[in-house]
Subunit: 309 residues, 2 copies
């Protein structure tokens, strides 16, 4: 039951040889969710072994090229490799119109694309499946932009094997326990929590790029296990960060700290820092020690925490 983030790229808009712009993929129970699609993302997916046929949902944060220009090649390649099942793309307007205008380039696609226009002004659920939900988070950038919060649903109760043996539970009693009910035997109550347990705590990940420091973000990602927050600049460039709708490493760390996040991954590094992202990490760690650099190829696993009683 994976809950695992793989960073595909963390560069910002200006191209850097050997670096890829923003994209990452979240593996939730072996279903893969692509978040942003900077130029070259299709190669990065292949490089890091992401199975393309299990990629059914793509979330775009905003319509800036360094988050988007890899989408066209990926969409095209999925067609060339024989995909037939639908691809869902969640993005602010007007992505659908742009893709429609590129119709001559995608005229022989063997699979349908379903577009879901995301309202970047409201925190609202936009996706749900058996295992998880995705909520859009308004970001504060130069153009309409939203982050995405991925949250596992509370898993169904399991019944302890020990309890089944020890108490010789019947099938009916097991079913009742799975549904959260106590067991009544000879007028005595065996409380549900003695025999049933949640196999794990629901896990969560939030992706917030590109954005200036925002209290809306702090509120929206409260208690998140893993927060990806952009840190385009060091604090020495705070004025530039504000002017361009970006964050400093210190601001990213402040969001993580105020939100009570467990871990922070920073990325979307300005090309001025080249490979010296350690300096940004150090700046963030002064505020939030559990900060890690989101270098391409890095994997951040969120392990299931057991909650057996």
């Amino acid at each position: 039951m994976n809950f695992r983030l793989t960073i595909l790229g963390s560069a910002s808009a200006l191209p850097v040889v050997g670096k890829y712009p923003t994209a990452c993929v979240l593996d939730v129970h072996e279903q893969f969710f692509l978040i942003d699609a900077g130029e070259g993302v299709q190669k990065q997916l292949i490089r890091y072994g992401i199975p393309l046929h299990k990629l059914n949902n793509i979330f775009i944060t905003h319509l800036h090229g360094d988050h988007l220009f890899g989408l066209f090649g990926l969409v095209s390649t999925l067609g060339l490799t024989g995909r037939e099942h639908p691809l869902h793309i969640y993005a602010p307007a007007p992505l659908e119109r742009i893709m429609d205008s590129m119709d001559p380039l995608f005229s022989d696609m063997p699979y349908p694309i379903e577009y879901h226009t995301v309202d970047t002004e409201r925190c609202e659920p936009i996706f749900e499946n058996k295992a998880m939900t995705v909520t859009a988070i308004p970001l504060s950038h130069r153009v309409p932009a939203c982050g995405y919060l991925f949250r596992e649903k509370i898993p169904p109760l399991n019944v302890s094997k020990d309890a089944i043996t020890e108490l010789s539970l019947t099938l009916e009693e097991i079913c009742a326990a799975k549904n959260g009910l106590d067991i009544i035997r000879d007028g005595k109550t065996i409380p549900n929590e003695r025999i049933a347990y949640r196999p794990y705590e629901p896990r969560s990940f939030a992706f917030c790029s590109d954005t200036a420091y925002s209290e809306t973000v702090v509120d929206a990602v409260h208690g998140v296990d893993l927060l990806y927050h952009e840190a385009t600049f060091a604090s020495t460039e705070a004025e530039r960060a504000e002017r361009t709708g970006h964050s400093t490493a210190r601001q990213a760390a402040t969001v993580a700290s105020q939100a009570g996040a467990e871990r922070l991954v920073i990325g979307h590094f300005s090309s001025r820092y080249k490979d010296n992202h350690e300096m940004l990490v150090q700046e963030a760690r002064e505020v939030f020690p559990e900060t890690y650099p989101g270098e391409q190829g890095c994997v951040f696993e969120i392990k299931a925490k057991c909650v057996r009683h």
Copy 2:
């Protein structure tokens, strides 16, 4: 006075880690002409040291993603790096409409783009400057496509320094000689070819991808110094080549041979051959020995041939 081709990418549509799709750049007298713009082309331009501010003309052969999807990132980066002078893009329709629909992505471009729609049905000149012309060549592909023939103009005459000294030529006589005139002295004629010469033979390069074998191409590239012709497949895949509007290595070599080209560069290699392009080169060399693989990073120099009399 460079006339030099640099291959930026030679992969075809399916992505291969470490390889870039079709793009190359021709340096004619230190002006750079980009031909096709597969995904990642902006990084390849930087990697191979092409000065972006000297890139003023881009030629797109056809609207398939592996020849085009790098254009958007490049156009965007040129804006981010402060370009103000116009960029000219030559391409079949409807590229301009596609770019227009992407306006939200390019809204704050500080430079103008001028689109030139190329008729893919006719051999006709589409560009001219002081040093050279570019002619579009109809290709035979699944979608409207054209190749491009770059040809230096006949350079102005130079006057031999030896002749100037030996004959004590006056300024007027030098000017006359530069204009191709004979010199008349004391009723005697000194023929122009004794004192003036062409500094070099005009050089030429043709880029033909993607295309099936085509006699139109043979005629259009007659006598070219350097021919880039696609060779997506080996002859064992001749049926597939025909069906998809591509060429085999043997067909590329046949075009070079029939056209009397001096050298042939093959590219647009199918992903099935991975790094084994040598096999395609060998196949081509059976027909046209002066065949070379167009691997990314390769430079093909066309040296100026002196024609001093």
